[in-house]
Amino acid sequence: MADDFDQIQGILGTHRQQLLKRANVVATGIGYKQTADAKTETLSIVCSVKEKVPAARLSRQDMVPSAVDGAPTDVVQTGVIRALQAPTGRFRPAPGGVSVGHASITAGTLGCWVIKNGQKVILSNNHVLANSNGAEIGDAIIQPGPFDGGSFPQDHIANLTQFVPISFQGEPSACQFANAVIAVFNLGCRMFGSNTRYHVSKIKAEDNLVDAAIAAPLNDADIKDEILNIGAIQGTVAGELGMAIKKSGRTTGFTTGVIQQVDVSANVQYGAERIAVFTDQLLAGAMSQGGDSGSAVLDDNNRLTGLLFAGSDTTTIINRIENVFSALGVSL
């Protein structure tokens, strides 16, 4: 038997073409032959197949022989081999974990597909799909996001259907009483010739629970109900201290972390000027950067636990998925 690497390489060179022609074979190479669970010390020609098929169902010319010119073979099931696609690319159908955004933003992450009134919709952040309260319902959502080269109408994938408004500190107040009082003050100012006018601002904004929005796809064929590099979601779970988590996002791809704090209240900056206070958040270590916002956060069993939206170089802040679902009236 040929057990020398160079010798096997020579044999593989001679037979590669005819091996790759066999049905199901997607790759050939040299590796140690594997039995049920253990690796052996025997070098072999490894034929990777889409799926292992019983010999009885294969024609003779499609069967991988047990040895080629004295070199043992091994058949390993790998599935179809595809080029790995960067999450910043264009995906149709589009899974979670890829670039997405409102036409007026840079790019964020398509978290996952959820159900609203029986229809599958994109879940991400308000600041990704609704431009931090700046969007109108019905606005176009682009995949990939504008920063990644997405443009309207070629990459138009969905329309904004709903967002939870973010309450920022120091915003003009919607309080009718305060505005009425100030209107009287301003009238007085005008009557007495003063150039001063008063405005009502919120000193302390209401606390936010989520930064979340949904968008309905133009075409159901564009829905891929799984998350890139993670797979299908297996239900939901409440985040707890010490829980191992993972996410798949537009900028840093697949990363993992641990929930280090719960019941977190945090001051979060939106751009250079606005700050919003969030309560009941989950906090993990470094597992995201700009552009990962909107990523779905899952536990080790692929159960959805949160929606990533903010962070620093050392920290990631995550909305609880139960708060996201109840604020938007959505489910898995």
Partner: protein
């Protein structure tokens, strides 16, 4: 002996009642009572519940940068619960 027994019998329901009245607040309650004051301090960006170095439940205060002046104003314990200060950086929407 009878007096001691009587005292014990009288004290036990009082202790149970004490718990019902919330005489020892939970870490969640203590955090909630103090978080506004903490978050209003310059440089404080987060207040949450985590664990200290020894694994005990603790109130974790996050700062945008190390700041001895502010750190000196944050108590080491709040109603018995340890307070841990961490410089975690400014939190930004991503």
């Amino acid at each position: 002996m009878r007096t001691i027994a009587l005292v014990i019998v009288l004290i036990i329901p009082l202790l149970a009642l004490g718990d019902d009245l919330g005489m020892s607040p939970s870490i969640q309650e203590v955090k909630k009572q103090n978080e506004k004051r903490l978050l209003d301090m310059p440089g404080v960006v987060s207040v949450g519940i985590g664990r200290d170095a020894t694994g005990n439940q603790a109130i974790i205060v996050g700062l945008d940068a190390p700041n001895p002046k502010i750190e000196a104003k944050i108590p080491a314990r709040l109603q018995g619960f340890p307070v841990v200060i961490q410089a975690i950086g400014s939190l930004k929407a991503q």
